[in-house]
């Protein structure tokens, strides 16, 4: 499976490797892992099965047949409809910083590509862009990709990775919930399959909209998935929550996720499922 070739090419020629260049520490179990091994494992810890968050480009590399991805709606960018400012300054500044940091214009990349030869429309959220928050540009890209899927009779796959709605766009960001779901209603009307993949984290307004209305719900192991935040709930019920609360595994037990799929198996699983959905 093609994997991170671009990033690896860049990282391949270190001048004089320091310790930190050779190994990394698993953010979850703190085990030390050789960087090569970590990358080969698709940034999954083989001790604790922790799945590190990926950039949208890494996702493309893991999921799509090499060279098949075509980006769509690339011009759609963040907006500042409220001219929002908080104590740390204007939202616009923060957004620009995020663009520079990530090379993205919004928290999601959308496009079309092939999964083991099957053509799909796909939206991939990227947590690096303002915590993968759902804002007007995000919603618009997700909607436009649904319409693209309908026009081309393609299955739609959305990978969620989001802390929820982006407050900086106020009510406009809230309205991306009905907006994206309205697009998915059209997709359903066209009888096209929709697979929702929940990665760490899929919470707030994203969990309560497009992520939760898939024909099939797949989650990466140990991903955080939920509506309200753990702290808010603990304050509400005045009780500690169990350790595994709102994990992907917990959601399977409670009936909201069809299956947990390890990153290395995701692509093949998707193509298998798509065949049951009649996609070729």
């Amino acid at each position: 499976m093609a994997w991170f070739h671009k990033s690896k090419e860049i990282a391949a020629k270190p001048e004089s490797p320091k310790k930190e260049d050779i190994w990394i520490q698993c953010p979850s179990c703190k085990a030390h892992i050789y960087k090569d091994e970590w990358e080969k494992n698709l940034k999954v810890c083989d001790r604790c099965h922790f799945h590190e968050r990926l950039t949208w480009k890494e996702r493309v590399d893991v999921l799509l047949d090499a060279g098949t991805f075509v980006e769509l709606n690339a011009k759609v960018s963040w907006n500042d409809p409220l001219k929002f400012s908080d104590s740390k300054g204007p939202y616009a500044e923060k957004a620009v910083e995020n663009c520079e940091k990530t090379g993205m214009k919004e928290s999601v990349a959308t496009g079309a590509g092939k999964i083991n030869g099957i053509k799909v429309a796909i939206a991939i959220m990227d947590f690096r862009f303002m915590g993968g928050s759902l804002a007007s540009g995000t919603g618009e890209k997700i909607l436009q990709t649904a319409l693209y899927a309908i026009r081309h009779k393609l299955p739609y796959i959305i990978l969620s990775a989001s802390g929820g709605a982006r407050m900086h766009e106020g009510i406009i960001s809230l309205m991306q919930m009905p907006k994206t779901c309205a697009a998915l209603a059209q997709l359903r009307e066209a009888n096209l399959p929709y697979i929702s993949i929940m990665t760490d984290p899929t919470t707030g307004g994203v969990s309560a909209s497009f992520a939760m209305v898939g024909d099939i719900h797949i989650a990466e192991p140990r991903s955080l998935i939920g509506f309200a935040g753990r702290r808010v709930i603990e304050e509400t019920i005045k009780q500690k929550l169990p350790e595994d609360f709102q994990t992907a595994e917990y959601l399977v037990d409670h009936g909201f996720v069809d299956m947990i799929v390890h990153r290395k198996d995701m692509k093949d699983m998707l193509s298998k499922i798509l065949k049951y959905a009649g996609c070729r």
Partner: protein, 314 residues
């Protein structure tokens, strides 16, 4: 109960009370003086309410005496037949609904119920609905679709209930499902934000062909306090957050999130239920009559276009 920014009015009111106590049966100039007081009070109230800040509007929207869904139902409807249950798990008291008649219109009314006294408030989680509430709402909407009657929702919630059980039973799924199904619903939907339009808990019954809002209601992606504590790292900066979030009816009309403002009587809906109901009814009837003429296919297609356009700036 008088709000803190109403203290000038409260002062005049206490002067009036004093005056009345001193002059139990005023005549002649005393009557004139009393009238002057009353007018002074009315002017002050008008002045204050004409210039409410967003944060002050939040106070009015949350006023403990503000009309709740049962007040709207009894004020607007000549008949109400409550229907219970989601047919899956329970009957959420925080979300009520049923058949109702508004003048000559038979409709399905659905909305958040905050509760009047503490007992009732506890039973309905202070208007924070649970998954079974959203699923009950959906069941009633599908019933309305089958029976070809319009849906009217009344939105008044601090947000969906953030409890452990609610999470386990799929708060996220229930809201998401409603958003999708409401978009596809083949019957007219009118949503009225009457008090607090609290985030996902509000939009969960808010996908309307027409979205109305009482003039002192608020509608927001997050509570001003919540936003302040995250973005200002200081919960007391709620007033600033309220300002920044653009949560008032006026701002939301400009942003094309709502379609029309239902003006409240001077001093807020809680000061005059009768006028509030009269105005609300008039606006509702206008839209019910006009939506009746639209075919189901056109309705859903227009509804899609409406929400698709939100946050489209390019």
């Amino acid at each position: 109960m008088s709000l803190d920014f109403e203290k000038d009015v409260a002062e005049i009111e206490s002067r009036i009370e004093e005056f009345k106590a001193k002059n139990p049966e005023p005549t002649g100039t005393l009557v004139k003086e009393l009238n002057r007081f009353e007018m002074e009070r009315a002017d002050k109230l008008k002045e204050i309410y004409a210039n409410l800040t967003p944060w002050q509007t939040v106070q009015v929207a949350r006023h403990p005496e503000r009309p709740l869904i049962r007040d709207f139902i009894s004020g607007l409807c000549s008949e109400f037949i409550e229907l219970h249950g989601d047919r899956l798990f329970g009957d959420d008291r925080g979300m009520i609904g049923g058949f109702a008649t508004i003048e000559n219109h038979r409709v399905m009314v659905i909305g958040h119920q905050k509760g009047k006294d503490l007992d009732e408030k506890i039973k309905c989680n202070f208007g924070q609905a649970c998954p079974e509430g959203y699923r009950k709402a959906l069941r009633l909407m599908k019933l309305a679709e089958k029976f070809h009657i319009p849906v009217v929702t009344f939105i008044d919630t601090p947000g969906a209930f953030p409890g452990r059980d609610a999470e386990e039973r799929g708060q996220a799924e229930a809201i998401a499902r409603n958003l999708l199904e409401m978009a596809a619903l083949k019957t007219p939907v009118i949503a009225v934000v009457t008090g607090e339009g609290g985030s996902g808990g509000a939009i969960g019954i808010g996908v309307g062909d027409v979205v109305l809002m009482l003039s002192n209601a608020v509608y927001s992606v997050i509570s001003p306090e919540g936003c302040a504590s995250i973005l200002w790292r200081d919960g007391t900066k709620a007033a600033e957050a309220a300002n920044a979030l653009k949560i008032t009816a006026k701002s939301l009309l400009q942003l094309k999130i709502i379609d029309e403002i239902i003006p409240e009587p001077v001093g807020g809906a809680h000061r005059d239920f009768v006028t509030t109901m009269k105005t609300t009814k008039k606006v509702l009837l206008k839209h019910l009559t006009s939506l009746k003429k639209v075919s189901p296919r056109k309705l859903t297609s227009r509804r899609f276009d409406k929400f698709a356009a939100m946050g489209r700036f390019n």
